[in-house]
């Protein structure tokens, strides 16, 4: 299957996006923010269809809307808590706008399907380059904030006392999530971003007891599930997104049924230098 250009591009795009989705998703699950990821992808739908309508790439419309929404969510912060109704209605409005933009963009229904459910086999080389650029930015930013982000996630009160700005961290992290969502939507579509960002991370957090092993495991799982999905789609001719989602969900369910105590492969060992 590697003899085709579009397959090689699909594997490259799927792989690089999976690395970002797995790593960002790990912190997303740790911070109990999975719903925020889901909400951002819905907002992104309006951006993607709007961009297609005015003749810009769907990726850039997605990115503009997810980034805008992410920064708004980060700034509003706690004020959004217990505002499920308001958030839900704004999401409905975003999806409704997306439908309107699609109505005006009458020429193709396949474009809508691609935005909603992804089309990794349709990624062209220029999109691949954009995805690589965005991934480098997202991973570099995540690296820069990772230490305070983890501190603020596990110990918010202590972090605040130590001078960490929880608000700033929250905005920065959600902006990184926005990039990861926009990228993931290219692979599995806005409706199923959850599968790529949350599934591998949730399984990894159950299987690993050390944090950084968990992060590495989430990335490896995301890449394996994405590549596995593309390969299975090639063999069966069924949609790639279906296979990726199936593998992601299977991974999570398998992690649920494994005994936690016995499966940790990464127990903490005190270093010999300690004493």
């Amino acid at each position: 299957m590697f003899e085709y250009d579009f397959m090689r591009t699909a594997f490259a795009a799927g792989g690089i996006v999976a690395v970002v989705a797995g790593a960002v998703g790990f912190f997303l699950v740790l911070r109990n923010l999975t719903f925020a990821g889901h909400a951002l992808s819905h907002v992104g739908f309006a951006g993607a269809t709007g961009a297609v309508l005015v003749g810009v790439g769907a990726l850039w419309g997605l990115l503009a809307f997810t980034l805008g929404a992410a920064i708004a969510m980060g700034v509003l912060g706690d004020r959004l808590r217990d505002r499920d109704l308001a958030v839900g209605i704004v999401l409905a409005l975003a999806l409704g706008l997306g439908v309107l933009f699609l109505y005006f963009y009458t020429s193709s229904a396949s474009e809508a399907t691609a935005i909603l459910f992804g089309n990794v086999l349709g990624v062209d080389v220029s999109t691949l380059k954009s995805l690589i650029g965005l991934s480098v930015i997202a991973l570099a930013a995540l690296g820069v904030i990772s230490r305070p982000l983890l501190f603020a996630t596990l110990e918010p009160e202590l972090a605040e006392a130590k001078g960490v700005s929880l608000r700033l961290l929250s905005v920065l992290f959600l902006a990184i999530v926005a990039v990861a969502v926009a990228e993931s939507a290219q692979i599995v579509g806005v409706l199923l971003v959850f599968a790529l960002m949350v599934g591998p991370a949730a399984a990894a957090l159950r299987l690993a007891s050390r944090l950084w092993w968990g992060l590495a495991f989430a990335v490896v799982l995301a890449v394996a599930e994405t590549w596995g999905g593309i390969a299975l789609a090639y063999v069966t001719d069924w949609p790639t997104t279906f296979w990726i989602v199936l593998l992601s969900c299977s991974g999570y369910f398998v992690s649920l049924f494994t005994s936690r105590e016995r499966t940790y492969v990464d127990h903490y060992q005190p270093s010999s230098v300690a004493r």
């Binding site: 690296g143 990772s146 230490r147 972090a159 130590k162 001078g163 007891s209 950084w212 903490y268 300690a274």
Partner: protein, 266 residues
């Protein structure tokens, strides 16, 4: 003139529009173990937040080792009141403690040997080496408090601010934690402010009591402060102090001030 570890000079501290502490003056010497006592809502947590620089003094002055309180002061170690959510975190004890190591600085987590050694030293100091490899969900309340204490010790602080470390612990674990803090305070010669809503577990460990109530404060030894006269003046209502089998019970006209049932205060 001696430099005090913590000094409140006619300090008024407000939270929102509510005046929590009004015109409080107190001076704590370096190396003292202070029990910060008072009923719920008396301002124990608020006082610690003010010392940490999270809340400014609305009037008067607060000084920490002679300087204005500021967030990120490395001289101060802090153990926040435990949230129920901590126990659900899917991390092992070592990683939990390690997350606080230099956590206020940008960058990747520290994996180096020097970092690992210092984190392990803090875990060792609270006798939690055996807990480092276990998930937080598998730990008891007392074990979690040890790890939180290890986090507070990471920067080798001169001042430890411990917010209700005894909360929802059995008496046996309460005395273990008090003894542990006392040992650390003695061996390192550091100042400890230890909040609690019951004085008894702290008897024998503390040097002095800072008793908060009705926005005011009284600082002194247990014998000086926990008396009918001082507490009655603090609350402006008759208070009786009873000594029963070595325990001290503070009783207001209508019942115990330090009720057993405890809800989180702000």
């Amino acid at each position: 003139m001696t430099e005090y570890a913590v000094e409140l000079d006619r300090a008024t501290i407000t939270r929102g529009r509510r005046v929590v502490l009004a015109d409080v003056t107190a001076a704590i010497r370096p190396g003292e173990f202070i029990g910060v006592l008072g009923p719920n809502g008396a301002g124990k947590t608020t006082l610690l937040h003010a010392i940490l620089g999270l809340l400014p003094a609305a009037a008067g002055e607060i000084r920490v080792f002679g300087a204005r309180p500021r967030r990120g002061n490395r001289a101060a170690g802090y153990l926040p009141q435990r949230r129920a959510a901590v126990a659900d975190l899917p991390v092992c004890g070592f990683d939990f403690v390690a997350s606080a190591f230099d956590g206020e600085r940008w960058g990747l987590p520290r994996f180096g040997r020097a970092a690992q050694r210092r984190i392990e030293a803090a875990i060792d100091a609270v006798g939690a080496v055996a807990l480092a490899g276990r998930r937080l969900a598998q730990l008891s309340g007392g074990e979690l408090q040890r790890l939180l204490l290890a986090q507070a010790l990471l920067g080798e602080p001169h001042l430890l601010l411990l917010d209700e470390p005894l909360i929802s612990l059995d008496p046996h674990f309460q005395s273990e934690i008090v003894a542990l803090v006392k040992r650390i305070q003695r061996s390192r010669g550091i100042t400890v402010l230890f909040t609690a809503h019951d004085l008894n577990p702290l008897l024998g460990a503390i040097d002095r009591v800072l008793y908060l109530g009705h926005g005011r404060a009284a600082l002194g030894t247990v014998a000086e402060v926990i008396t009918s006269e001082v507490l009655s003046a603090l609350y402006r209502t008759p208070i009786e102090v009873l000594h029963i089998n070595g325990r001290i019970v503070v009783v207001a006209g209508h019942g115990a001030v330090e009720a057993e049932a405890h809800l989180h205060d702000v």
